[in-house]
Structure formats: structure tokens, C-alpha cells
Symmetry: D2
Subunit: 387 residues, 4 copies
């Protein structure tokens, strides 16, 4: 049996190029990158990895291709892209994504440099696949790239179900068996077959409930912000270069943070779960436009100003201002009465979910428990928060 | 062990009055009333019964009482009411509900007559409980009645999860363990504790997705309508009285329908799954106000007119016009910033879900496959449908 | 989508002849025959039907054929046989099996008469299949018949997993995804591929644990024996013929039992769960050889003698003497070091499980609670029980 | 809510001393020690940690104490012991257990030194608990110590179910809800209540099937042996002391192995899954007595001899000779006919399972793929293997 037992999809049969890709260092590294970074501090069972998730995405891509009856050479490239779609992730995945983007100008979907030569290129080419074409699929380019990266990709189907399974939260309202069966191409665009508005809505709903309950849980956001600030400082104050940083595993990053004097205190807090507390937890409507538009550097300056004015040590204040809420799935295409429509044109639920996202949005300012009160007042002033 | 193994809640410990109630004829009868009536024609695994569901509601009520720290005499009445809450259901549950209401003027929550004397009364009284008080709880009266019947009752928690489990549909986004822990009374009203807007929304969402995918699946609605019409004819054309009818089991009703010449053809169709087809499947906006307000008798007259004008035999046309969409859960109370608010005041999702319900609403006109085309045109005219 | 949602196997795609067979009266009837007859009196969630199970067996047969790369005309016959394998079951399945065998000389696997003409024959022939050949496969004949009925058939894989799912008992230690992947034919015999001794053992173990906990639970055996005796009396004392009896549904049998004066008391007891109690529950070693060999008629005579001598009414004593314990799975073929061996030759576990089966075996004598004491003494004497 | 969501037991309510213990460094460290060490190389979903497992054991202990109606001061000590029972584990748990025993003379159950002072002592004492008494419970001493560590402890119940859940293997045939309900003390000994021979057998069976399929999978054993040898070399050839080693996390050990020149090659192989292969895989009966008795030092000498004679570098040959098979659960006490018996006295299954364990037992000799053939012959000679 070349079948691997998976807790979500049961057996995953790994064939062709995928079998060799599986044993490459780039894919094996994903065993050491957790899927949900700091969420496990809230949901202890959520220790699953991007390796396991990548296998799941490969499996669903394979099933979708079968149902779409695509079995030519392009299919093998799609399967390779599905398995490799996360190799570009840095340690702790999304948590270090923006650091890597700022320093290397590279999104995690941009994997040309990883596939261009070395072990991955060798394996792909030995199976007659063109590394550049696989990288393009991972970036969501072309008709078939939509299977790997788009508002209807199999990536989100896998992670919504898998994250629900491993957290134990019953909100992964996605039916993978149905989704892979109702995908179809209409004029080159990926869409859900007629009769599947509710199927598309279920993706939105799962996303919304998982956001509220899991992905954006305040404890996970606090720990994630601490990790992000510590990582930036590590890059700023040591000779660690960003490219090396981007290839670390979770544990290698943690170890590096503990070895550096300037980041050790934050790293120790993370390891022992002595997390910062919320000094501010502000709703969208109370946050002025200039704060929302401030950008990374300006936020760091604001933090430093607050620390100075309150006589706190550097790193004692963290401002966590997420981007405006967005839900890419609202653009998913659905066939209705023979026409292809965007989900937001068809589903009155979309507006409600978008409003719910806005209502759940929070700007956080975090600080050590002892300073939380002081920071609250100062930050409310400095950020001109109301309400 | 007095614990009963349940596929949803694992072990259910049955103590006190519940142990004796369990073996009464009224409760044992629920083994023969399916929870989802005709849904099993679409989801073959959904053969679960109201007996199993009643045990589940009993279990959740018990847990909720524990978390609410209510352990006095009233608690035992609530547990009895939870176990008995469905004894008033006729055969096929909700499918015969309106027939019974029209003929006996009694809702299934109205169980005074069943508890007033006989075996149930004897058991309740032998445990020092007052049958009338238990019946009141089942009708949702009083503070504690809200646990058994209200927009936050444990009844809906159990059925949403149980129906998802047995159909295999992954849309039962309800977390019973959380719900029983966050219920609280505020000034005598049942509410969800602070921080649980998303918990309340999950109930709404589960309901909306289950409606679209399971409860209102058109195949189930067609079969249900056939069953309802056949049942009415049975009551009209035999000497079966409505009170006897209301105490039948599913199988007893099916058998009675097959034994009566006038209802046998419909019953045979149901047994062999030769169902009527949709002649009309109209959206809410295309249905004129007078049809929505027409009421039962007027609809039956319209059916008869159509049958006559098309030369079809009585029973060949079924008009299935559900009430306007409603979602009782939107009134659920949630504590927000120390105040009790209604969910629809707090959650922008509510409006979207209500709109989605309206968008999913359909009026159906059903007929044997051979007549579907003819009936479509005539019914569209007769009902003045547009769009 | 021609895919049916199943609570155990997720989506089951029904194609070809199976789609038409599904809507035949013979297959639809299986919706009304419970898979576990009286077990639901112990495990309330176990209301699943032979219809659902038949779909599951069809699904596994399809998967096994794919993995075995059998795609020619015979494959379609095997799939038809898998879907139809239980159409020969009487009401309450195994519970009436021996009655039907005694009166019609027909095992439930013997379905030639059901397939020879009528609707099933028409459908099979319209797809170019030979009804007799399909019936042979159901009887386990020929190489491919082993997939449908043998010690490694997909029937047992489905029911072990499904019964565990619906009872909630965690003892369905079977891995269907693995089993369908490791089946292979060696010299025409179905065997498990090398490295699968533990896979074969898991079938045995599941069977043994399910026997002890579910299938042979004493409450289910008592109810089953009451049903069996009542059914025999119904056939003896009314003009109901055995062939008609054999085609009844569960509910039709229950209704018939309640309508007949002679069987009504037992039927009422079953409906209200006022079951007989164990007067005797004897281990194998305490039961004399002549009792084990006594056979049906002799046991009925013994019952009548006991009733007379104790002055009890006919039907008040039920002797329930199961056959000697057997485990067909011990003969399953497994490839070990290149040779095909029988499981019992290879696995030291087999002997232990057989001994455990013997240790769990019980002869029961049942009677109404009020007579249980009296019957105990008399039956112990009459059956010469020791120990 | 003080309830933590768990993927296996749903909500775990953490109260009293447990809430404070949870945030200690010793318990938080368990987030970084995987429950199944190298098993995740075979079952990618098995990334769960000893932290999650410790919460599960705490939960079951709490439930067992409730059912046993033990609510006095000792109960709080048992709950503390349950939560802390694994704090003595080194990195990779059982994989480094023997190293730590040899060098520190300490079993992982021996945690006196960890509880005697420091953070854990402070927390325990602040709740009026005596650290020494809690350590004794963890070592299984006294009547209540049996709940934490014995052949019927809740530890094994949790890990069997949890490991099955996370691997996806359906062989965790244990019913925790039943087990905590049927525990009782008879004359101070923990036993299962009458009617639970099959419950006890289910523990044995789960253990046997999980051993064969998961715990002793050859890929996991090879990786584990590589890790163990590398760890020993690390301790031998660096100034890392054994006490520090014993407090490492999984990742810290891996990092240390990669930083040391002498262990880097093995560590790189583990990280990239370039594992040694089986040169020898010998059954119990083919292994001479002197090899089984050889002990650690003698095995290391044999490895060195083989390496020298074949001209291989140190570390190229690994002999993996497990102890003789044992199943502690066979001594579990069960009440039968009012007497307490040991399971092996009562269950004929025990003998079969013991024989199956012996049949599955293997001595392995592992080497890099290129040398496997050469090592096979030399090792077979050197170890005098037959058959």
C-alpha cells in the first residue's frame, strides 16, 4: 500500500511525482511547521502540521481532477502543486508571513526560487514536469491554478475541516466529498455546479465561525503578536538574514529567540504561557481612519512612543491592528439557472457575514499584566480611540 | 450502570422519575416515531427516532440544570418535562402536526390531556411531581420552562446535532457542551453568558444550513405532502377519529393508509418511492399575497379545481405552501457588555440569515410525473404566479 | 450528483444497474427492515436499516473491484449482487431466518426465486445481466462470489463498522479503507495481501467484542426470542402462509402479531418493553449434550412440558439455545511469506477468541418476571443443567 | 468558562489546584513533548502532545473519583497527580526513558525530585497538598495511586483512545465513559464491577491491535532507535549532563543533535526521513537466549564489533532488541460472581493475545540502505539467529 492514513480523509494514495516529492527536505520540513501556530495555546489538541495539511490538499486536488475528468499531463502538475503549495511558508506560517514579505518582498505563494533548482527541481523534472509551471499553479495562475489557489481552491476546504477536527470545535461546516464533486469549469472559470448556493455559503459560514472561535481568538492573537515582535527584533539585532529565517522550523525559531538576549524574555513568556494581556480591545468603529491606514513602521513608532512616555522597556507595548475584514469566498462563482454568478450577487447571507466580520473585528493593544491599566489609558489617547 | 449508550452524547445516566417514565407506553411509543419523517428518503441513514432524541434532551436538560446549580424539587420536574416533551407528537411528527391542530385544536406541546391521568400521571405523582406543572414546563411556561421550550431550549440543541450525525451532513454546527455551560438566568429570562454572540449565531447558522440541505429538501417535502394529504383523506373517508390517529405510530399510519382503498395508491407510491414531481417550485416574490394568506381549506379547494379542470383524479395535485419563513432563534437573549440583548439587535448575521431563508423559500405544486407539465401551466395561472 | 450521503462511508456514487435497482420494491422494502432487529431495545440509536447497509456493501464492493482492477462485465454483476445481497431477508432479518428456513427450506442467501422474474429480473436483464448469475454471486458461488459472501466478504466489513457507528459502541475495530485495498485473488481464492495478519485479526476481534456487547446482549436475545415464538404461533394459528410472512416488513409483522388474539399479549409486551426475564442463564459446560443437540421441535416440546407442569399458559416459557459458537472468519486466507495460509493456522489469537466465544455462550430460559423463580428450578431439572 | 476544548473528551473543566498547575513551566513543557515520538513518521496526523494527554488523564481521573464518590482532600491530590503524571518524561518520552534510567537511575514515574521544591511544590502546598504524597500517587502507591498508575489506570484509557483518534486508526476499542463508571474498590484493590470481563478484554485488545499497527510499526522503531543511539552519543561525547538532557523538549534535543558534529549525520537523516533499513527482522523463536539477556552494554559492544569487522563507521549498525512481550493489563481485577479475579484467570482471550504478542515480537538490526545486505549476513552470524 502506498496509502497514508490520515485522520481526516482516511487513506491518501500517494503516487507518481508525489511519492518522491514527499521525501524531499522541503516537504519534510513542513512536519515541523504547525498549521495553526499559536492557536494550540487555546486549543491544546491543535498540534497538527502543514505536512499533514499538504497531504490533504494533494488528496482533494486528486479527487477534484478525477471528477473533472482531467487526466492528462497537466493533472500531474496540479497534484505536484497541491502537495507543494505550502513549502514557501516561514516558521509559524501566517505569523511570520508579513515579516518575510517586508524583508524579502515575497508572499508564501511565490515559490519560484524554491522550485527553480535543487532537489525539488530535480524531482519535478525527472517526472517530466516544468518547475516554473508548477510554481505558477501554486500562485493560482491559469485555469487549473484555480484548483490550488482561488476562492474555491481545495486548500481552504482541507484546512477548514482539518482545523475543526483537531481543535474539536464543531464549526468546520464544510463537506469535502460534496465540494470536489460539484466543481466545474465554465468558460475557463472554476465554479460550483447548479444547486450549490448553500454549498458555497457553507464555506463562508465555516470561515466566519472558525474566525470567531479559533483563528482570531484573542489568546492566540496575543501570543502571535509577541512572536512576531520577537522575530523582528531577532532579525534587527542579530546577523540572522531573512532568507535563512524564512526556512526555519517552528522550533528553530523558538530556539533562536531564546538564545538571543534581546528576545529571550518574550520567548520565555511564550514557552511558559505568561502572555501579555489586552490593554485595549477596540471595535472597528472606534478606530480612526489614520490608525487603520498607519502601516507597519508607523505602528512600531507608536509603540516606541508609548513605551518611552510610560517609562516601559522596549517591547512592553504591542499594537495589533489587523487589516480591514475581508472574505475572499464571497467572489466564488456559482451556477444559478444556467448563469455563472458571484456568490455575493446571489446570496443574501454574504452581506450578513461581512457585517458580522466587521462586528467581530478588534484592534488590540497588549502589555504585561502589571502595565495593562497604564497602557490602556495612554494607548486610548495616542490612538484617538472612541466608543 | 443505569447509563444508556447514545450515539451522540455517549452515556446518558437515567435516574429518578426518568427511569420509570422511560418504560411507560407513551414514551416507548416514541421508538416508533421517526425524528425526521420523510427525510430518510433522501438521507438513508436518518432513521433515528423521537425516543432517542427525547433521551438526548433529557440529558442536556440535566447538564444545564447542574451548571445552573438548580437541584431542588423543580429540577426533577424539568427533567421529567424534557423526557416527555415529545409525547404529544402524532405519527410522523411535524408532518401530521397541522392536521391534529385543525381537528383537535391541539399543538404537540399541549400535553395536559396525556399527563392528566393514566400511567404517566401515576408515575409522576409517585415521585411527588404534579402532572399539570410538568405539562406547563413542556408548553414552555414559567422561568424553567424556557429550558424545555424557548428559543434557547435544549430541544433544538439536541436535534440539530443529532440530525447532522444521523444524516451524515456536516452542518450541525452546534456545540452542546458549550451551550449547556453558558446558559444563565438574568432577571428570570434565559440568556447566554457574555462572550457568546458567536455561540448564539452558531445555532442560527446550523438551523439555516440544515433547513437548506436537510429539513426542506424538496424530495422530503414532496413525500411529506403526499403523506399529509393521504392522512387527511383517511380521516375524512373512514371512521378513524382524530384522537386515535394522533396516537398512532409511523408504521400504524402507513398500514392504515394501505388498507383504505382511497389512500392505498398514495401509500403504495410512498412505500416504493414513486414520488410526485415538482410541477411548480416558485420563489417567495413570485407568489401573490392572497396565496400566502389562503389557508388550508382554500388550498384544498384550489387543488380540487385544478384536478377537475385538467380531468385528473382527486389527489393528483398537491399544493405545498409553507408559512412565511421565520427563525425563532433570532430572539435569543445574549449578555453583551453586561446588558441582555436580543440576538437580532446584536448580530448583523441575523438579517443575512433571514434574507437567506426568504431566498430559499419555495411554494411547491406536485403531481405524478406524467401530469407535471400540464399541472405546471394550469397551476401557474390559477395561483397567479410570476417570475 | 448521483451520490447518496451515507453516515458511514460519506458519499456513495450509485451508477449503472444499481441506480435502477435502488428504486425497485424489493430494495425499497429494506428501508423497513432494521439491521439489528431487537438490539435497539438496548441501544436506542441503533435504528438503522438493511437499505442503508445494502448501499454500504455496494460501495465497498465497488471499491474492492477498483483496487482489484476488475472492470469487465462481471464487475457489474458483482455490484448488483452486493446491492441485492439482503433482499432475501424476512422481517426482523436474522430473527426470523430460522423460521423461514424450516418452513420454506430457504436461507436468506438463496434468492433465485426473487430474481428469476418480476421487476428485479427486468432491471437486471435490461442491463445485460443474467439474474441467475447474480443470484449465484449472492450465494457466494464462484471466484467473485467471495467478495459478496465469504469469510472475507465486504458484507461483514460494512455491518461491523455500521453497527458500531449507530450503537455508539467503540468496538467496530475494522478499517474498511484498508480492507478493500489489501484484498487479492491468489489461485482464485480471495486472500489478504502479505503483512495483513493483524488486519484479519481485527475482523475477528471486532466480531468478538460486538458479539459480547451488542449482538448477543441478553435483553436483545430475550426480545428476539419472544418475537420468534410469537411469529411461529402466528404462522401456526392463522392462515398466513410462510411465503407472505417472508416478504413482510418489521412493522407489518408487528401489526399482524397485534391483530391476532393468540399473539397479541407477546406483541404488546414487545411494544411496551415489558420483556420476559432470565430464569436460567447457563454456561456451555453446564448444558448436557442432548440439550445442545435437541433441535427446534424438541425444545418446543420441552417448553410445553414445563408450562403444563407449572400450570402456566402456553408461551410463558421460552428456551433459547443458540448453536455452538462459531467464527467463520478464522478461515480467512492471508498471504504470509509468499504462502496462502488460513488465519487460524497463523494467528495464535484465534484460539483465544474461540475460547472467549465459548466462555460467553449462554443458554437462556425466559419467562414473565412473576414466574421466573419457579421456571428456574423446573427448567434446571428438566434440562439437567449443572454448575 | 474554565473549560478547555479537547478533541477527545470535548470539554475538560479545570478547577482548583489544576488551574494553577496548568501554567507551571513543568506542565507547559509537555506541550513540546510529543505523545507518540517517532510514530508521526508513519501516521502524519499523530502530532499530539503529552500536554493534551495529561489534560485527558486529569479529566478521566476526575470522572472516576466522582463515580467512586470520593470527594475529600485525597481527591484533590489524585487530580493533581493525574495532571502531573507525565512531567518526569524526557524528550521524546518513552524513546529516551531507558537512557535516563541508566544514567540517573530514575523512571519517569519517579518525580519526587521535580515536586520536592520549586514552582510545583509552591502551587501544591498553596492548595494544602503535600508534594511527596502527590509523587507517591504518580508512582502508583497506595489505594488511590491505582487510579493514576496500575493495570486499570485512567492513563492507558486516555492514551489508547487519543492515539487512535490522532492516528486515524480505528483500533482504540476503549470506551472511557464505561470504564470510569465501572471502576470500584474491593478490599482496597481497584477492580471492574461485575459484568465487565468484556470491558477489560477491550483494553487488552486495543493494546494488542495498537501495538501491531501503531506503537511497534517498524518505521517508527527504526527512527526511534536512531534517535536513541544519537542521544547516547550526545551524552557520551559532549558535556551535556543527563539531568539537563532529561528536561529537554523534543525540539531542543533535535537541535542539540544537529549542533554536535558526531550526531549531526543521524539527526539530518531523521529530519529528512532518510531512515536506516531493516537488515534483520527476526522472530522470537529464532533469537538465542543469550541475545535476549544481553543487556544494553553488550548490545552496544556487538554493534561496535560488527561495524569494525565490516569496516563501517561507528553508528552504522543498530541492534534493537525489545524486552520480552508483556501485557500488564492481564492482571486487571474483575468482579465475577461476587469474587475478585485477575483477568488472566477469567478470560481465555488473554492467552491468545499473549501468544499474538509473542508472534509479533521482532528483533531488528538496522543499517543504512547501502549496507543492509552486508550487515544482514554478519549480524545473523554474530547473533546466532536461526529460522
Amino acid at each position: 500500500m502506498n496509502a497514508i492514513k490520515d485522520a481526516v480523509h482516511d487513506y491518501i494514495e500517494v503516487d507518481g511525482v508525489a511519492r518522491e516529492l514527499l521525501d524531499t527536505a522541503a516537504v519534510q520540513r513542513l512536519r515541523h511547521v504547525k498549521q495553526l501556530s499559536t492557536v494550540r495555546l487555546v486549543y491544546p489538541s491543535a498540534s497538527h502540521t502543514r505536512f499533514e495539511h499538504s497531504l490533504g490538499v494533494y488528496h482533494l486536488a486528486k479527487q477534484a481532477l478525477e471528477h473533472l475528468e482531467i487526466s492528462d499531463a497537466r493533472a500531474e502538475s496540479v497534484r505536484a502543486a497541491a502537495l507543494l503549495h505550502d513549502v514557501g511558508h516561514g516558521p509559524y506560517g501566517h505569523q511570520t508571513e508579513r515579516i518575510i514579505e517586508r524583508r524579502l518582498g515575497r508572499h508564501h505563494d511565490d515559490v519560484d526560487h524554491l522550485l527553480a533548482d535543487g532537489e525539488l527541481a530535480t524531482v519535478l523534472e525527472s517526472h517530466g514536469l516544468e518547475p516554473g509551471a508548477v510554481a505558477d499553479l501554486i500562485a493560482g495562475e491559469g485555469k487549473l491554478g484555480q484548483l490550488v489557489s482561488s476562492d474555491l481552491d481545495v486548500d481552504r476546504t482541507d484546512y477548514l475541516v482539518r482545523d475543526a477536527h483537531h481543535t474539536g470545535v464543531p464549526y468546520g461546516t464544510v463537506d469535502p466529498g460534496r465540494l470536489v464533486r460539484v466543481l466545474q469549469f465554465v468558460d475557463g472559470d472554476l465554479a460550483l455546479a447548479a444547486g450549490n448556493v448553500a454549498t458555497a455559503e457553507s464555506l463562508l459560514v465555516a470561515r466566519a465561525l472558525m474566525n470567531a472561535t479559533v483563528y482570531r481568538h484573542h489568546v492566540s492573537r496575543i501570543a502571535g503578536s509577541m512572536l512576531e515582535r520577537a522575530s523582528e527584533r531577532l532579525l534587527d539585532e542579530t546577523d540572522l538574514d531573512a532568507a535563512t529565517f524564512a526556512r526555519m522550523t517552528d522550533a528553530q525559531l523558538l530556539a533562536a529567540l531564546r538564545e538571543c538576549d534581546r528576545t529571550e524574555p518574550l520567548a520565555a513568556r511564550l514557552a511558559e504561557r505568561r502572555l501579555y494581556k489586552r490593554a485595549v480591545w477596540a471595535e472597528l468603529e472606534g478606530v480612526p481612519e489614520w490608525v487603520l491606514e498607519a502601516g507597519h513602521a508607523a505602528c512600531r513608532d507608536l509603540e516606541a512612543d508609548l513605551e518611552r512616555s510610560l517609562g516601559l522597556e522596549p517591547g512592553a507595548v504591542i499594537i495589533d491592528c489587523p487589516g480591514r475584514p475581508s472574505m475572499p469566498e464571497i467572489n466564488a462563482r456559482v451556477v444559478v439557472n444556467g448563469d455563472v454568478r458571484r456568490l455575493h450577487e446571489q446570496s443574501p447571507l454574504v452581506q450578513g457575514l461581512q457585517a458580522a466580520q466587521r462586528a467581530q473585528w478588534r484592534l488590540g493593544v497588549y502589555a504585561p499584566e502589571t502595565h495593562a491599566e497604564t497602557v490602556r489609558d495612554a494607548a486610548t489617547d495616542a490612538l484617538e480611540l472612541s466608543g
